[in-house]
Each structure stands twice: as structure tokens, then as C-alpha cells.
Amino acid sequence: MTMMIPWQDHLVGDPETGILHGGVVTTLVDSVCGYAVMSYMQDLVDIATLDLRIDYLKPALPQQNLYASGEVYRMTRNIAFVRATAYQTEGDPVANCVSTFMMGANTGVLPKRRNRDAEKRSAGK
């Protein structure tokens, strides 16, 4: 999952340099993590961020689009574990992030339990 936010005047944190506010990086990274979980789910359930840690590696340069890519590296029935990077040039990260999400946060509806026996049977066919 990759998202992009174009550089805009009102997202600046330091008007002298035009560097984007750290909060913009946080918002983009939080979004990409959430969307990564949603795109990974087989049944659509409510999710909520439990925690999100960001390392700011360097400032986001002015006049350049900001990208963030996120992936779910482990999904259980209750929790999704996600990692993400924000960058302006691929391979040159601005920020690194790890986050965890709770599945079925507000409704208590959890993803369906996988029926492993049925999966094995159909795989054997």
C-alpha cells in the first residue's frame, strides 16, 4: 500500500525552509498503516490503532511530494502488525514506522476463524 501527499503551503512546519511539519508525516504514515490493514483483511471489520512509533530520520524537503508505503507483516485474529516508511525519493527514507492495530475495535466483530480443515480438504482435491 502506497500513498502520496503533495507538498502544500499549509502543511509546512518551518516557513523559512518550507520543510513539512512532522505531524504531516505522522498523519500520512498513520493513514498508510490503516489502509494496509484494510487492504489485507478478508472480512471487513472495524480497526483501531493501538500504537504507532515513528523515527524521524531526516526532514521532509520542500516542494517535493511525500510518499508512504506500509505493509502488514503479521496478522492474527485480534491484532495486525504493520511497518511503514515515508520517503520522497525511493530508497531514501524520511521516517520509519511500526504500528499495531486491533481488529473489531468498536463492534467486537472479529474476522472469521479460518477453517483449516476445510482449507486442507480443498487443497487436497
Binding site: T26, D51, R53
Partner: protein, 146 residues
């Protein structure tokens, strides 16, 4: 005006809002700053453009992160009384409950002040301070090692 000049201005007049006014993104969020005996309190008004979950509805988690981070920056500036902006190294946000689209407050405290690094804890709450919607820990570089 540079950000350092805005900070200097805010410190000399004792009005932290002057820092917010110089930062476009904080203005965009409509942030207001108050003070009590523990330092600055940042206030994020509830508005349409900060909604992350339109179904509930709830404030976007990233915007809450931005509030916590800005509050921490403001607190460090206020404690140090130096016309410089601390560099954020990292931020860990814990989300405790969904944030309704109403006024949200945040206040920080320094848990450890080292020679170069400040450890800061920030708390964001809505109607009830005893029930924070989110908290965060962050590290700032407040002086260069060289």
C-alpha cells in the same frame, strides 16, 4: 519572520500562541495555546477537516499524533526558554479511545532532561482529563553533541 524569531517573540511576550501563528500546519489545524502552572496546553478545535473516521465520527489518528507532537515541541521551547526549535527524534503514540470530533486538549511534561536529549510525555484528553484519548512518548535533540 523565521521560526526562531517567532519563538523569541513568544518567549519575550509570554504568549505561546505567537509560535503557533508562525507555523502554517499548526494554523491549518486551528491550534490554540493556553497556559497553566505546568506549562502550555494546546487546544485542537473539533472540525470537519480533521475527521479520520466519518462513520463514528472520530478525529484522525495522525492529527492526534500531530497535536501530541506539537504540544511536546511547545513544552520543550517553554521550559528551555531558548529561541530554538528542538529536533524531534521519535514519537510513540498510544491510542486509548476513539477521539470524538470535539475540542481536544494536550499537555506535556519532561520526564528526563539530559545534556542533549529531552524525554517528553504528552497526554491528550477531551471532556475528562482522567480519560486520555491518546498519550505519547517522544525524544528531542535539544543540543548538538559537537
Amino acid at each position: 519572520m523565521t521560526i526562531e524569531e517567532a519563538v523569541e517573540n513568544a518567549l519575550s511576550s509570554g504568549d505561546p500562541q505567537k509560535v503557533v501563528e508562525s507555523i502554517p500546519y499548526m494554523n491549518f489545524l486551528g491550534m490554540q495555546v493556553r497556559q497553566d502552572q505546568h506549562g502550555p496546553i494546546c487546544v485542537l478545535p473539533g472540525s470537519e477537516h480533521i475527521i479520520g473516521n466519518p462513520v463514528l465520527p472520530a478525529i484522525h489518528g495522525g492529527v492526534l499524533g500531530a497535536l501530541l507532537e506539537s504540544t511536546a515541541v511547545m513544552h520543550v521551547i517553554w521550559v528551555h526558554q531558548q529561541p530554538s526549535v528542538p529536533k524531534i527524534i521519535n514519537l510513540t503514540v498510544e491510542y486509548h479511545r476513539s477521539a470524538r470530533v470535539v475540542e481536544t486538549f494536550a499537555q506535556a511534561r519532561i520526564t528526563k532532561q539530559g545534556r542533549r536529549i529531552s524525554n517528553v510525555f504528552v497526554e491528550a484528553w477531551q471532556a475528562d482529563r482522567g480519560k486520555p484519548v491518546a498519550t505519547a512518548y517522544c525524544h528531542f535533540l535539544t543540543a548538538s553533541g559537537d
